[in-house]
């Protein structure tokens, strides 16, 4: 069934700057030659695209009224107090100045592709598509083929931008199911520092969107980027996308991911160490429940010597949900003195929950230090008993253990205020889950 490929080809972006047409053409041709993955496609073995094919996401996103009470309320909900961020809000892909708080920041330019000046266009053209490989990631090809605009963040050489940039991608349902293509390009010039929070959210209504969000992070020599990608959408919001990063010499990327489940959610996180001494901390949490899915595929390419990677992903999988984690670390022949650690721990809180986890190390250099591990466990009965023996109700004890399992990562976020924002959101979710389970039992 490759209908979706043909249907997607029919859909053409409307207004686009001419200079993007080459990118689009290549994306289109790459998408055209791809085939829908099946069970035999290794990269998609455990995640089916049926929801995408059956959902008829044929419409385009439409501009919404930003002054509607629903959106104003939603805007307050996604506001992270204490983060003191510069906030850019998009609703169904359209930038909403009414909901944003764009205080100017020294050292960081933010511009839509369509409004970029000549020098900015030059920089965008130099970097766009260099991190996200359309021939390897078919949904990047789709993103390229639909490219009509995007957000370009440019951090100037040696600029230390303290104020985080908080980009909120909101979705609300439209009359008919629709597709939404998003592109973010962050270029960090040598010696620069910044924080970028990508935050996906929706209102509580049943969503009917398919979002294809591709982010590219290009870190120059000695640049430091703290990056978050939070997926907190309602469960009917489809998302296939990813984050693709390139790290030059001594660059440091700290990237944190959080994903609630959905009827279909797939994220590819790709980091290429392209300069000596680059370092990447990659951490993530996935929390599917009900009959949701979530699939994180991470791939770290160690192409140069003396680079380090520390990767920790944890998942709590509940009810009938299913999670997929694939953590690949590829050490190229030149990448001597690599140090790479990968850990993936999973907690299944129900008998019907499923995790398919696969750490993959591919090593072609002989002087490296690599470790990897994956575990799958259930809630610890003895720990539950211990909590209960102090008068804590069993359901509450379950919530405490589930949140405890992920708190170790949340407590170590570079921005503690973000952790303070996430904790109640997540523990509310676990509480809801337990009360729902109680009701059905």
């Amino acid at each position: 069934m490759s209908d979706f490929i043909a249907e997607a080809l029919q859909k053409l972006p409307t207004e686009t700057p001419g200079w993007l047409s080459e990118q689009r053409r290549r994306g289109r041709s790459s998408w055209k030659s791809s085939t829908m993955p099946t069970r035999k496609t290794e990269d998609w073995k455990y995640t089916r695209l049926r929801a995408l094919e059956e959902g008829a996401y044929l419409g385009w996103a439409e501009r919404q009224d930003p002054t509607s009470p629903a959106l104003t309320a939603l805007r307050d909900q996604v506001h992270i107090s204490g983060l003191d961020a510069r906030m850019l809000v998009f609703v169904n892909g359209f930038y909403s100045p009414e909901l944003s708080s764009p205080t100017a920041m020294d050292g960081m330019d933010i511009v839509h592709f369509s409004e970029a000046d000549e020098t900015q266009v030059e920089t965008i053209r130099t970097h766009l598509g260099t991190a996200a490989n359309r021939d390897k990631y078919m949904f990047t090809a789709l993103n390229d083929s639909w490219l009509d605009d995007g957000v370009f963040v440019h951090v100037k050489q040696d600029s230390k931008v303290i104020t985080p940039l908080h980009i909120v991608w909101l979705t609300v349902p439209q009359r008919e199911a629709f597709s939404l293509s998003q592109r973010l390009l962050v270029v960090m010039e040598p010696g620069s520092e910044a924080t970028v929070v990508e935050h996906f959210a929706s209102d509580g209504a049943q969503q009917n969107s398919f979002t294809n969000g591709v982010t590219e992070l290009v870190l120059g020599a000695n640049a430091r980027l703290c990056h978050y990608r939070l997926h907190l959408e309602e469960e009917h919001a489809l998302h296939i996308g990813g984050v693709h990063a390139r790290l030059d010499r001594d660059a440091r990327l700290n990237s944190f991911h959080l994903g609630l489940g959905s009827i279909l959610k797939r994220l590819d996180v790709v980091v290429r160490h392209e300069g000596n001494g680059a370092h990447c901390d990659l951490n993530g949490i996935y929390l599917p429940r009900h009959s949701q899915n979530i699939d994180y595929h991470t791939c770290i390419e160690h192409a140069r010597p003396h680079c380090t990677t520390k990767e920790v992903f944890r998942g709590v999988i509940s009810d009938n949900a299913r999670a997929v984690f694939n953590g690949r670390i590829h050490i190229h022949p030149d990448a001597q003195k690599t140090v790479a650690e990968l850990s993936n721990k999973n907690l299944l809180t129900s008998n019907k929950a499923e995790i398919d986890t696969k750490p993959e190390l591919e090593i072609y250099a002989d002087d490296v230090k690599c470790t990897h591990g994956a575990t799958v466990a259930q809630l610890d009965d003895y720990a539950l008993y211990y909590l209960c023996s102090r008068g804590i109700a069993r359901e509450h004890a379950q919530v405490m253990l589930s949140t405890g399992f992920i708190n170790e990562l949340i407590n170590n976020l570079q921005h503690p205020t973000l952790g303070e924002y996430l904790k109640p959101v997540l523990s509310d979710m676990f509480v809801q889950q337990v009360t729902q389970r109680e009701r059905t039992e």
């Binding site: 008993y385 023996s389 102090r390 008068g391 804590i392 004890a397 253990l401 949140t403 992920i406």
Partner: protein, 249 residues
């Protein structure tokens, strides 16, 4: 307060308790001694309702209630607390959060006014001082990376905050140096108010030098083979358990 009649229990199909009879009145301190494998810890876990510890016969009444019909959390709320021999490490759940949740639940059950975070913090810090534990332990994960002695003091702290009617202390003295032992003993003694009762499960007479028991029982083969006053503990220290076991057979 607690009345155990002919209690039999199995763990993984194996008979461990084979007819325990024990009555504990308000304000009493009972010491339970006995060799390894005699069922001391099992008794504690059966009373607090650990899963897999199956009662096959007998009955237990606690403060007028059928204890065995209650879930572990209900037993705790009713005022029974077991200080674990091996407290569980729970990384990611801060000790403070754990203690506050437990105390909040207990106060609600006892129809006491809820404590705000600031007052609770103050109380927790005071209790920390009483058991000679650094305040940093409140911020750490529950028992995470605590030494043996620190875990035992954390158990004691929970007892002080939850103020049970009956506390069963399962080898709370094991693995403690003499200074720590004195801290623990002083902590337990400070909780004695004439109404609260204690069961001290221990291997060593040493603890009983600091906490004077009203009764001493020796467990052997899942039964109480001998009961007496504190002099029994001294006799055991002197002669070991061998003479009692041969007597029991």
């Amino acid at each position: 307060m607690l009345s155990i009649k002919n209690l039999h229990a199995t763990v993984e199909g194996e008979d461990i308790l084979r007819g325990i009879n024990l009555d504990i009145g308000p304000g009493e301190v009972h010491a339970i001694m006995g060799p390894n494998g005699s069922g001391k810890s099992t008794l504690g876990h059966v009373l607090t309702g650990r899963e897999g510890y199956e009662v096959t016969a007998g009955e237990v009444t606690f403060m007028g209630q059928d204890l065995l019909a209650l879930a572990p959390e209900e037993r705790a709320l009713a005022g029974l607390l077991l200080a674990f021999q091996y407290p569980v490490e729970i990384p990611g759940v801060s000790n403070m959060e754990f203690l506050k949740t437990a105390v909040d639940g207990m106060r609600k059950y006892r129809k006491l006014e809820a404590m705000d975070s600031v007052s609770f913090m103050k109380l927790a810090r005071e209790v920390c001082k009483r058991v000679d534990l650094d305040q940093n332990f409140l911020k750490r994960g529950v028992n995470e990376g605590f030494s043996g002695g620190e875990k035992k003091r954390n158990e004691l702290m929970q007892m002080m905050l939850l103020e049970p009617h009956l506390a069963i202390l399962d080898e709370t003295d094991s693995g403690l140096d003499i200074d720590a032992l004195q801290v623990v003993a002083a902590g337990i003694n400070s909780m004695r108010d004439g109404k609260r009762s204690f069961v001290l499960i221990t291997h060593y007479q040493r603890l009983l030098n600091f906490i004077e028991p009203d009764h001493v029982h020796v467990l052997g083969g899942g039964r109480i083979v001998r009961s007496g006053d504190k002099s029994l503990a001294l006799e055991l220290e002197d002669k070991g358990y061998g003479w009692l076991e041969s007597e029991a057979v």
